[in-house]
């Protein structure tokens, strides 16, 4: 027969209490909030782990009892009773641990998932990041390893509680047997914990340095592997591997330093708990010698003393190390969660569905000198501009920046009044370097939202028929990570089709055909107007074939020189 497996992770994430994060949140506070975030799992887990430790500490007590009551008396009924008692105690300690540890893990996983949600949401937040975002590899390391370390602190809400209970119970039993022994435990334990905190200081710093260096090395690996095509084209893989080796050696040096302080820490902890046991032995031995304790009680004391080393060193090493690592990781998690957004203001207005007029009035930025531009519904406007001016314009139109002077409005309302995502659904500014994502061609063009008719029309307009024909599974062909199974020209056309399939009221395209040949370019130009229907289009390009199909062309370069 197979018993049902209890307490598995459900298909959907387990909800936790909200974890508040603001500019004033410190790593310590974040760690504490994480620990307190899953009481529904951690409180029962702590109770079960207390039961487990009670069961563990009763083992030597029952054994001492059995020696006195059964072995010494030779009574088989008492022997059977003692074996049954021992069996019941083992059942208690085994099952309470089994379910306590699993509940505790569920709590840790729930908090970990919540924390990763916060990090991922911040990294993908539509409002972006002020300035430059960090290396993708570094962000990845924070979202994976550091979130793990931080969530592991949640275990402090359960495991040490059981260990403390064991120490208290043992202390009480010892106190009953002899008050001096009870005192040694109750004073000695907090003293040990204090030493642990002191000794943990350098370890915390080392652990911080080490994880920073490890993240740097992993970021280096990601960066080099991202440039894999460039490296293989130049035969520079060897030099790149040398670069990684250097970062890896730095990380190694950090690990070696951390290993040193970890060794000192563990060694001093073991020494302290050993001296503690020696003190206990002296007092117990002398009391027994004086006849204050029976041999049976001495056996219990010796058994309990052997047992208590476990939870004591657990308290000293695990909890402290977990807390130290969590604090170091919390700081790095906060470095993402507290990233400032870009400056542009946003409201909560939503554009009217359908057409609209874009108007730029006297817009001034670092590279735009008083630009006036209106695009009426259905109009197709070409724009020639320097790369810097085009970049400024793209930032403005995508809601990522505000002009130094002048106004940008859609449907007569300033951009700043609109909800950012609603605005981007109306005014779609396609980046020149548009990325494709893992998935099929259909997934990439339709983005799971556009209907099939729109996808087919867009693929036709972007002249993708021949790509689909050549692809082994047609529309369902996987494009590969970053679309790398397609050629550059194919990627650019699929990306263009994706933009057209969204059918936004205003579409801003930047050099959309730089990677395609002139025949294809002119085919795309011919079909572009029809594909846009009633929508308006701003084409930032120098390509004559594209400019030729525009209603009018604005030349910022000519203006600048005029």
């Amino acid at each position: 027969m197979r018993l049902p497996v209890l307490l598995q992770a459900p298909a959907d994430p387990i909800p936790v209490r909200p974890i508040r994060i603001d500019a004033a949140t410190t790593p310590r506070r974040l760690t504490l909030r994480a620990i307190a975030a899953a009481p529904r799992q951690m409180v029962p887990a702590a109770m079960l782990l207390v039961m487990h430790q009670v069961g563990e500490s009763l083992v030597p007590v029952i054994m001492g009892f059995a020696i006195d009551q059964a072995v010494a008396t030779g009574d088989p009924v008492r022997l059977a009773l003692c074996v049954a008692l021992l069996g019941a105690d083992f059942a208690l300690l085994s099952f309470s641990y089994r379910f306590g540890s699993r509940l505790g893990l569920l709590g840790i996983e729930a908090v970990q998932h919540r924390m990763r949600t916060l990090v991922a949401d911040r990294l993908l937040d539509p409002k972006g990041v002020k300035g430059r975002a960090g290396l993708p590899g570094v962000s990845l390391s924070i979202a994976a390893t550091d979130v793990n370390n931080l969530a592991r602190a949640v275990s402090i809400a359960a495991w040490p509680v059981g260990e403390i209970a064991a120490v208290l119970l043992t202390g009480t039993v010892l106190m009953v047997l002899s008050w001096e022994l009870g005192l040694i435990v109750l004073i000695g334990v907090p003293l040990l914990l204090l030493i642990m905190d002191r000794a943990g200081g350098p370890l915390r710093r080392r652990s911080h340095d080490q994880s920073a260096l490890a993240a740097e090395a992993s970021g280096k690996a990601a960066d080099l592997l991202a440039g894999y095509r460039v490296l293989s084209g130049l035969g520079a893989q060897g030099a790149a591997a040398d670069r990684y080796r250097k970062a890896s050696r730095d990380a190694l040096a950090g690990s070696l330093r951390a290993a040193g302080s970890q060794g000192v820490y563990t060694g001093s902890m073991n020494l302290a708990s050993g001296l503690f046991v020696a003190g206990l032995a002296v007092v117990a031995g002398l009391r027994a010698l004086n006849g204050d304790l029976t041999v049976g009680q001495l056996i219990t004391i010796v058994g309990l003393t052997q047992f208590i080393i476990g939870p004591l060193s657990g308290l000293a090493t695990n909890a402290g190390a977990i807390w130290a690592a969590a604090l170091a990781s919390a700081e790095r998690v906060l470095s993402i969660l507290q990233l400032p957004h870009h400056d542009a203001a946003h409201g909560d207005a939503r554009p009217e569905p359908g057409d609209g007029k874009l108007s730029l009035t006297g817009v001034r930025t670092a590279n735009l000198d008083g630009l006036d531009l209106d695009i009426a519904p259905g109009e197709c406007v070409g724009l020639r501009a320097t790369p810097a001016a085009a970049a400024d314009l793209a930032a403005l139109l995508s809601g990522g920046a505000e002009p130094d002077a002048g106004a940008v409005a859609w449907q007569g309302r300033p951009f700043a009044e609109y909800d950012l995502e609603a605005l981007r659904a109306a005014v779609l500014v396609v980046p020149h370097h548009a990325a494709l994502f893992d998935g099929s061609i259909l997934d990439n063009v339709g983005l799971l939202t556009a209907d099939r008719e729109a996808v087919d029309a867009a693929l036709d307009a972007a002249d993708c028929a021949e790509i689909i024909d050549a692809a082994p599974n047609g529309l369902d062909t996987e494009v590969g990570e970053d679309g790398l199974r397609l050629s550059g020209g194919q990627r650019q056309r699929i990306a263009l089709a994706r933009a057209l399939a969204q059918r936004p009221p205003l579409l801003v395209l930047q050099d959309p055909t730089t990677a395609v040949d002139s025949v294809t370019e002119s085919r795309i130009a011919e079909r572009l107007r029809a594909a846009r229907g009633n929508g308006s289009t701003l084409l930032v390009t120098d390509a004559p074939a594209l400019l030729a199909v525009c209603d009018r062309v604005v030349d910022l370069n000519a203006k600048a020189t005029a």
């Binding site: 994976a144 690990s255 073991n270 020696a278 790398l484």
Partner: protein
């Protein structure tokens, strides 16, 4: 968006992992012996405590006096001191050894990962490789300091304690071992049957999570433009929770493992109790001996647990190690030995290639490029130009036909590495002097790169000064000048810059090809027109070949493309 079609990089066999560790430890035998000796001494010193506690019971029972008690306490203290010293040193030594092995293994892995065949890496995805370099390395780094001392220390403790029990009365040892050993053995078997696939699934889920996150971060502009933050966030979090589900399953197996160990402990203790009971009743043993046997047995729990526990860590670490070493042992990039062409920069004949069986991309293509000759490759996208260029450059291996000659390749895909301008350049010629680097930049007319605020020390790439596409391309072309190959293949190398910078970049690519042969994949026909020879491709074949004048005046595909190109540009 499924991962069904994703091929993953291979897993190494246990034998491959062993030989890799041996390789990394080469020459460090003395250190390994030293570490084992320290840990063994530490375990031996640790035995002083239970021995002294047992002696304490005797001392009290036999009223041996206070001096004896103090002496035994001093023994415990001294034992603790030596145990702490040797164990601490041993742990540091073991961690250092293992960290060194790990560092050399991960370095070999990245080196090999970079040298993987391009097709293999693109099928498996870079995220898989990055996850192996990050997550898996971390798993082993955490497991190692626990596994090594546990194996040496605990084994010694267990051995001495079992001997101790047997010395008290052999019947204690026999009864306990007969009952207990089969339980431990079946438990280990049960674990080996259940655990490995769960750990492998957990690691694979971590790799998927890394892949999704990296893809979204690299394409963050696109994510924002198309309002994909929600969908991509969900995708990442789905992968994240999948890891959690596997972690809880792994814990369930660990729990079952420990429940079985608890059973073994209960059986052992009960048997010692019953044997002690019988021995005392038959007058063959004393209460004191039964007590000591029990204390010894109680003392076995910790080390046995530790040993059994590291079996678990070991499984998990081995799963990661197999993923790491798997990259090292992935089929090597055999840049098929290429002959030097006679009187030419490159000679390719009868080239065939297909990415997917039955869909040929190149079908019997032959192309010879003379020394110092510039050949332009034109044709519609998907005609096979880039594939032919990659094969001639030696980045892809041909599936049929022969290629001779060596070349460097620059594509439209520019990657600015995170680091200084100098580091970005001297990748192709480590140790090049500043003058050489500056000269290379100057020769491609990269004035704006020469004027960066801190010169060659300016940080560029993801965390430094952002380069414009044109600057990034001139950087790529300067790398060619530094590398100085006999043939340079430029695949749309100037297209990403947009039309505004094209004139400057045309000049730069001409400079990069100066004094060497060039193969130019171009769709900007004015660039093609300046080449010595133009080769037109369609659907995987060469359909037209000749000088610009010949082809422009013929009635072929080139002439049609040329007339479209010139319209509106004169």
């Amino acid at each position: 968006m499924s991962d069904d079609t994703r091929e993953t990089l291979p897993l190494a066999t246990a034998a491959q992992v062993r030989s890799e560790v041996r390789l990394a430890l080469k020459g460090g035998t003395g250190k390994v012996v030293g570490v084992v000796a320290l840990l063994t001494l530490g375990a031996a010193a640790g035995l002083a405590t239970p021995w002294a506690l047992g002696a304490l019971v005797d001392a009290v029972a036999e009223s041996q006096g206070a001096e004896r008690i103090w002496l035994l306490a001093a023994t415990i203290a001294a034992g603790a001191l030596f145990a702490a010293l040797f164990d601490g040193l041993g742990q540091v030594g073991a961690t250092r050894l293992v960290e060194r092995v790990l560092a050399s293994t991960r370095e070999r892995m990245v080196a090999r990962g970079l040298a993987l065949p391009r097709a293999a890496l693109e099928r498996a995805g870079a995220g898989d490789l990055v996850s192996r370099a990050g997550d898996d390395v971390a798993v082993i780094a955490e497991a190692a300091p626990m596994v090594v001392p546990a194996v040496t220390g605990s084994a010694f403790t267990i051995a001495t304690t079992v001997v101790g029990i047997a010395v008290l009365d052999w019947r204690f040892a026999v009864c306990a071992l007969v009952l207990v050993i089969p339980v431990y053995v079946t438990t280990l078997r049960w674990h080996r049957r259940n655990a490995p696939q769960i750990y492998e699934a957990e690691r694979a889920a971590m790799a998927t999570r890394a892949q999704h996150l990296l893809a979204s971060l690299r394409g963050i502009e696109t994510v924002h433009a198309f309002n994909l933050s929600g969908i991509h966030g969900k995708r990442i979090l789905l992968a994240s929770w999948a890891v959690s589900i596997w972690s809880v399953r792994a814990r369930t197996v660990v729990n079952g493992f420990f429940a079985r160990i608890n059973l073994a402990e209960f059986l052992g203790m009960s048997s010692i109790l019953v044997v002690g009971f019988l021995l005392v009743r038959e007058g063959q043993g004393t209460v004191g001996a039964a007590t000591t046997a029990m204390l010894f047995f109680l003392r076995l729990f910790g080390p046995i647990n530790e040993l059994m526990f590291v079996v678990d860590e070991l499984q998990s670490a081995l799963a990661s190690m197999r993923r790491i070493v798997g990259v090292i042992h992935a089929d090597e990039f055999k840049a098929a030995e290429r002959a030097e062409p006679v009187d030419a920069a490159a000679d390719a004949s009868g080239i065939r290639f297909e990415y997917v069986a039955g869909h040929p991309v190149l079908d019997d293509v032959s192309l010879r490029i003379g020394a110092q000759e510039t050949v332009a490759l034109v044709g519609s996208s998907g005609a096979g130009k880039s594939t032919l260029a990659a094969i001639i450059a030696g980045v892809l291996d041909t599936a049929g036909g022969t290629v001779s000659g060596t070349a460097a390749l620059v594509t439209q895909e520019v990657h600015v590495f995170d680091g200084t301008l100098r580091e970005n350049l001297d990748l192709v010629r480590p140790g090049a002097s500043d003058d050489e680097l500056l000269a290379a930049l100057r020769s491609v007319g990269a004035e704006s790169l020469l004027n960066l605020p801190e010169g060659l020390d300016t940080g560029i790439g993801d965390r430094g000064t952002e380069l414009t596409p044109a600057q990034a391309q001139s950087l790529a072309l300067a790398r060619i000048v530094l590398l100085d190959p006999p043939l340079a293949v430029l695949d749309e190398a100037t297209s990403e810059a947009g039309s505004a910078d094209s004139a400057a970049l045309d000049h730069a690519s001409a400079a990069a090809l100066d004094g060497r042969a060039g193969l130019l994949v171009a769709h900007r026909l004015d660039q093609a027109a300046r080449a010595d020879r133009i080769v037109v491709m369609e659907k995987g074949r060469i359909v037209e070949e000749g000088t610009h004048e010949d082809l422009a005046n013929a009635d072929g595909p080139y002439a049609r493309a040329w007339s479209l190109w010139t319209r509106g540009r004169s």
